[in-house]
């Protein structure tokens, strides 16, 4: 275990998440607060589920290995359900916050939309979950030792890092899906998130058979990503335009939200949003503030930042 393992696993596990943080969250103080509060809610859910598991373990026979493993599995499932319950509670809190922000604002619209909050809350949950899974491992990776010397898998650190990364992404997408389901009263979306979470945790019981846990998790992540993207107003057309970095036509209606070419730098946020409103762009009606949200992500958008 060396410095290379430490840095490699750190960047695998947390690299994408920190990238998301730096490019989309770090600039807005409100988003940072929502992130930390999301992390706090996840922490409280973990605390409560650990308490239940602890009580169960103390009340049982410590020598019975099968029972202990069963209790652990029960603890995992209970923790997943509790995490989703706290995600719902957090949604309620953010809903109230948005109502307050709308009431306070001068133009009747809140500085942050519920979709943006959903994303940030998801990242908060994911980062805290990933940190709690991974940080002690990383600290141990710096010290002396040999991985798997007692016959366990030698890929322990690597697979842990990959699993952490996929979990962080999944939490982000689950946040978007969950909040969308709560917003539009689509209970099947919420149920899908819960079932997905239970599935991913359940798949981890296959470890150390990593093919059984990592590959399906990544497939689930891709599915959740696509679903969340579609729910946030994305479409194949958007994606194509983004990848080709096409200019946004001022007159055209079909142009996507803020895809501006590098050479077209004369957009300012207000005019763009006005234009979108006038054109009744489908994205605006569906996701208010999604333009603001997507804006910092693409290099093409940077010219829109004030």
């Amino acid at each position: 275990m060396t410095l290379a393992v430490f840095f490699g696993c750190t960047f695998i596990a947390f690299g994408p998440a920190f990238g998301l943080f730096i490019f989309t969250i770090a600039r807005d103080p409100l988003r940072i607060i929502i992130l930390i509060a999301g992390a706090f809610f996840w922490l409280v859910s973990l605390l409560l589920s650990s308490l239940i598991w602890f009580i169960a373990v103390k009340a049982s026979d410590p020598q019975d290995e099968r029972l202990q493993k069963g209790l652990l599995i029960f603890g995992v499932m209970f923790s997943v359900l509790l995490q989703e319950a706290f995600r719902f509670l957090y949604y309620k809190l953010l809903r109230k916050a948005i109502e307050g922000l709308v009431a306070l604002s001068e133009d009747g619209c809140s500085p942050i939309s519920i979709q943006q909050m959903a994303y940030v809350a998801g990242v908060g949950f994911g980062l805290m979950s990933g940190a709690f899974s991974m940080i002690n491992l990383l600290a141990d990776a710096l010290g002396p030792g040999t991985v798997g010397i007692h016959g366990d898998s030698q890929l322990y650190f690597l697979t842990s890092a990959f699993m952490t990364m996929v979990l962080i992404f999944l939490h982000t997408f689950w946040g978007i899906l969950f909040f969308h389901g709560c917003e539009h009263r689509r209970w099947w979306e919420i149920a899908a998130v819960v079932i997905m979470h239970l599935t991913v945790s359940g798949l981890s019981f296959c470890n150390p058979l990593y093919v059984g846990s990592l590959v399906p998790s990544y497939l689930l992540m891709a599915a959740a990503a696509a679903w969340a993207y579609l729910l946030s107003g994305g479409s194949a057309q958007n994606l194509r335009r983004f990848l080709l970095c096409k200019c946004c036509s001022r007159k055209g209606v079909g142009d996507t939200l803020g895809l501006v070419g590098y050479q077209d730098c004369c957009w300012d946020g207000e005019r763009l949003s006005q234009w979108l409103k006038q054109e009744h762009h489908p994205l605006v009606s569906q996701t208010r503030g999604a333009g603001d949200f997507l804006r910092p992500w693409s290099g093409c958008y940077l010219s829109l930042e004030k």
């Binding site: 930390i36 992390a39 922490l43 973990l46 605390l47 306070l104 940080i135 697979t159």
Partner: protein, 465 residues
């Protein structure tokens, strides 16, 4: 710092630097808050009036609810920036402390105890250890209370020179002696060979620039950096010399004391504020971390002497606090009083055109500030110190190690956020310790005893939740 009330700030006694419980907005902040609040209320009332034609009762209810929500959201809307302005220095201080604890073994080595905690914790029975730690905490708190009362007495009898000298000596000791020890230990840890001449040069420069920044003028970022470094040094001293159970007990009791001293009408800090109000003078801001100094820079043209004095007093308090640990508890309360006093003075000051006009005129004239967004928040250095003590102790002694540290860190930040929310609602100086320390302690013990075994088992089987 930027308030006009900074003019002639009397010297603050050492004790006033108290640990922390001061959390408050700058005058500008308050004024803008009030103005904004008034504007919002007016708007809402207008709104309500326009709707009363149809449904009067609902509107009244809505207005009340909106009032409450607006109050809460006032922080979220324009206070989010200030929360981050405090998150960053608190995080930096904690990071410095945790990094030092993890790498420099000097600060986790038992090398005796302070004279304020005479009872040892190396006892044979658990009961004896508990008793000793309770006695230690009681002695520490009584020392703090005595120092606070001494401070009030000194202030009442206008012994400003004594206070001033005390503060200078404290900051000298902290900036030169404690940092010299710290540097020495860091060199020992990394096995860096160093000669005395180089060390002397480094410490001399560090100390002198620190004294200048803290007691006179300096770039804002440099001043903030020095305040953070000083808080970290003090927190490290506490972590080293306070035995475990004593440390946790002291943290808990300090939070309660903070709450009482700042909010109770009979508290010494309140008395201090009232005295200052009677004399119609501003108290020295206690060692306070201020997120913006732009006002001071502008105010220098208005009142250079007062500005210098206030800056001096601010730094002095901090330095003196670090020198005497017992002074720390008092400082926080003081800054709150000062804040309260300043808040109370804003009303009458508002009516007088001069200072008000000066302050209000400044934003439009100043090139640097982006008012009204450029309001600042202040947090007492004692708060920094005790937050860092909590997180440092968690990282030093917890079996859960990094999980516990992370949990305490998030808990403290959330506590700070809630405190700022309350600040925006009540608009007066508030203790910053109770909520954060309570959350921090709860999460420390819960994570260390409940979450850690759970996460351990999960990691062993490589299960993921």
């Amino acid at each position: 710092m930027s308030e006009e009330s900074e003019e002639s700030v009397p010297l603050l006694p050492l004790q006033q630097e108290s640990m922390a419980s001061a959390l408050f907005n700058t005058d500008q902040n308050d004024n803008s808050e009030r103005r904004r609040h008034d504007n919002n209320e007016r708007r809402r009332n207008d709104h309500a009036e326009s709707e009363t034609n149809g449904q009067p009762q609902n509107n009244i209810q809505q207005v009340v609810e909106q009032d409450e929500e607006e109050d809460e959201e006032l922080t979220l809307k324009y206070g989010a920036k200030h929360v981050i302005m405090l998150f960053v220095p608190v995080t930096l201080c904690m990071v410095v402390v945790v990094a030092t604890i993890k790498s420099v073994s000097f600060y986790t080595r038992k090398d005796g105890q302070l004279i304020y905690t005479p009872f040892t914790e190396e006892t044979e029975t658990v009961g004896q250890r508990a008793l000793n730690s309770i006695l230690n905490a009681a002695i520490m708190i009584s020392v703090i209370i005595v120092m606070t009362i001494l401070l009030v007495v000194l202030y009442k009898y206008r012994c400003y020179k004594v206070i001033h000298g005390w503060l200078i000596i404290s900051s000298l000791l902290l900036l030169f002696f404690f940092s010299f020890i710290y540097l020495g230990e860091v060199f020992k840890t990394y096995n860096v060979a160093m000669d005395y001449i180089t060390v002397a040069l480094m410490i001399w420069n560090f100390g002198v620039v620190g004294m200048i920044c803290i007691h006179w003028k300096g770039p804002l970022r440099l001043q903030q950096a020095y305040l953070i470094m000083i808080s970290a040094l003090m927190a490290l001293v506490f972590i080293k010399y306070l035995p475990e159970w004593t440390a946790w007990l002291i943290l808990a009791v300090i939070s309660v004391y903070d709450l009482i001293a700042v909010l109770c009408p009979k508290g010494p800090l309140r008395m201090l504020v009232e005295t200052a109000q009677e004399r119609n003078e501003t108290l020295f801001p206690a060692l306070i971390y201020s997120s913006t100094m732009i006002w001071l820079v502008n105010m220098a043209e208005e009142d250079p002497e007062a500005q210098r004095k206030s800056k001096t007093s601010t730094y002095d308090k901090q330095a003196s606090r670090t020198q005497n640990e017992d002074a720390e508890a008092d400082d926080g309360g003081f800054s709150q009083e000062w804040q309260q006093q300043r808040d109370n003075r804003i009303g009458p000051i508002e009516s007088t055109p001069e200072s008000r006009a000066a302050v209000q005129a400044l934003p439009s004239n100043s090139q640097t500030s982006e008012d009204p967004e450029e309001r600042g928040v202040k947090l007492g250095l004692g708060d920094f110190i005790f937050y860092s003590v909590l997180v440092g102790k968690a990282s030093a002694t917890a079996s859960g190690d990094w999980n516990t540290t992370l949990a305490c860190f998030v808990a403290i930040l959330i506590g700070l956020c809630l405190t700022l929310l309350l600040l925006a609602i009540f608009k007066k100086a508030l203790p910053a310790l109770p909520i954060s320390i309570t959350f921090g302690l709860v999460f420390y013990f819960a994570t260390d005893n409940l979450v850690q075994p759970f996460m351990d088992q999960l990691a062993f089987h490589q299960f993921y939740i």
